[in-house]
Amino acid sequence: MDLRRYRFYFVFLLFLATLVCRPLHGQTQLRFCIGAQPKTFDPLLVADEPSEAVRYLTGGVLIRLDRSSQKLVPELAVSWTINRAGNAITFALRENVRFSDGTPFDARDVAYTVGRLMDPKLHSPTGDAFRSSEAAVATKIIGKYRITIAFPAPVVGLDRRFDQVAILSAQSSHKEMAVLGPYYMAENKAGTYVLLKRNPNYWKHDAAGRQLPYIDSIRLDIQQNRDIELLRLVRGDIDFINSLTGDQFDKLKSIAPQMAFDAGVSLDSELMWFNQVPSAPLPDFKKAWFASTRFRRAISSAIHRDDIVRVVFHGHAQPAVSMISPANKFWFNSNLQPHTYDAKAALDWLMQDGFRLDNGVLRDSGGNKVEFSLITNSGNKERELMAAMIQQDLSAIGIRLSVVTLDFPSLIERITRSFDYEACLLGFVNDELDPNAQLTVWLSSADNHQWNPNQKSPATAWEAEIDRLMRSQASTLDIQKRKQAVDRVQQIVWEQEPFIYLVNKHAMSAVSPNLHNVHPAVLRPQVYWNVDELSLSSQVAKDRQ
């Protein structure tokens, strides 16, 4: 038997096998985790973070807010103008752009998108942000690539809001699946992952003329467990984590310092408030406490914010001042300072209201022991630690605080429906620089005016003043007048403390050294805001599918 012939065939077969196994060309895949299955893939109905991630990666917008410079840059609109009244915006659109399915993009698509967005029956959160009055929004197509959108009343920060509006195709049969962004949705394995592939018709090119994005696909793994997510990053299974907690950051810093990034203070804040709803099922004496400015100022003075920053957030936060974070350089009132810890001042405030210390127990003027409960959502370790620290701080001035962690639906029911709570500790997630985004928090008639929502008329003089100031800043385009009004609102909030602002967290993220051109920002999405310019190093340019 001549074995040489068989040896040749064997080698030939091996060679064929390597051809089959090797990818046809280097396919790069970016991987990161989202905390849950996206609730919707309709970009106009996005309300949760995972859905927002998909929208950001797939949606083409007319104007983009550059997360790094915080300036507006043209995207699908090459230029735009806002009229003097501030209620109309005219876009000149980019020409010869196609959706991912090949259908051409023009002004009709913008008109269609706006029509759907502003449909009152849709109840789009993005659309509601534009709504300045009940009357309809009008679109006027001036040319194939020119359109004017007219609102019934002035909309402050009109151009910035288009950063959130992903343009839909008026003509495509795929509807929201036909996209203008760098990626389109290729596969959705519910509960496991979402796979996005590069849009073959993406309009952007780099300086060398190469079509973007550089990375061929993105896989968003659904991973709720943050510890396993961190483990996977360290192991190289994923390429970045968009948001880290303080202790995760420190842990990562100790094992892989080149991966951990702290972009500085974010727009988010942690805060607590007292229930001031008159119809709340609380004893009258407690309602009286919570309605008293001096009481709230006392509680605020008794809380050691610096300790919270150091112990809970490991230094990756700073004491909060008021409703605007210092990260928001233009709008922040720099004349205000965080309330400092001063137990003596706290007791002074309380004495002024008739409270007294009786054998280490604080009592009000009616002899009632000062004790109340603080609810917060379970599963957030940082908030649980903050609550425990506040409990300890208040015990130093004779107040007994009960900390109760609740699952989120139960908590929401208490703070929005039954009002069966005394104090609440939550966080405010803020993606918007313009304070007008907080209008529904500060207007006393609004649902999100958490301490006492849906007031028929302002319960206090200071709330009436806040109403007036917020409405005035919402109706003028004069930036200096708006700044003055917002500064005054911050001052009032600082004085009255309906929300006791505790800390502003830092924006911390983790990035694999294999991912290039990353510039972590404070605004979301912190890491992949420039996803079309990200690239993976050649060692990992492999087929990860």
Binding site: K251, H304, D307, V311, A388, S402, D407
Partner: protein
Amino acid sequence: MKRLRLAAVLFLVLISGLAFSANFVAPASYARQFRDIPDAPASRQHPLGTDDLGRDRFSRVLYGTRISLLLAPAAALLSTILAALVGGIAGLAGGWIGTAVMSATDLFLSLPWLFLLLTVRAFLPLNTSPLLSVAITFALLGCLGWAGAARIVCADARTLCDSEFILSARASGSHGVHLLRRHILPNLSPILFAQFWISIPVFILAEANLAILGLGVAEPLPSWGNLIRELEGYTVTSAPPWLFVPLILLILTVSCFQLALRKDELWT
């Protein structure tokens, strides 16, 4: 075996003694936060280091032992008694009564009791003291944790009912509660003891996880469950050994219960 049993009893006595004399033995209050030294390593002042908030871990272990050592076995006993009664009655009665009881038990096993726990939390005042809250939690666990064992108890009881000594007992006039109490239940003790032994750590860990619903041990009260939860995190990969003390205590205590309380047929 005797020596092992003695050692187990001594351990349980020692740990109970330490727990109940925590006021004298603990170097600090379990709630006091030494905020300058969070996550501190073991030292003379803090033999087991400090936790995330700078609280002395040794003090928290001592005080937590009181809660867990008292309430978890009580809840386990409750669930065992319920399993014994339900399973025993079903096994003894047989027929349609037994079928009905066991069907109800199967239904009990299948229902989402999470919502009952949520409802209980909703009815409890938010200012409920931590001690009362944890007692209610363990009582609920005891009331909800019997169904699985009841099934096995029922099967066991049915087998016993056919045995000769039961037939003799019946022949000599023993019926109903007397038969159950004097003849059936003592012979069910291996299963009941297994149920008791399993329930203790299960309830301790469950109590810690019920914090997600607002039940369980509230701040600042410590328990073994919430101390063991410190291990649930990425930092466990580099956790110092003293972090494992509550877990080791729990394992040893559960093992000692097994050795101390059970007289085994194997060793007669």
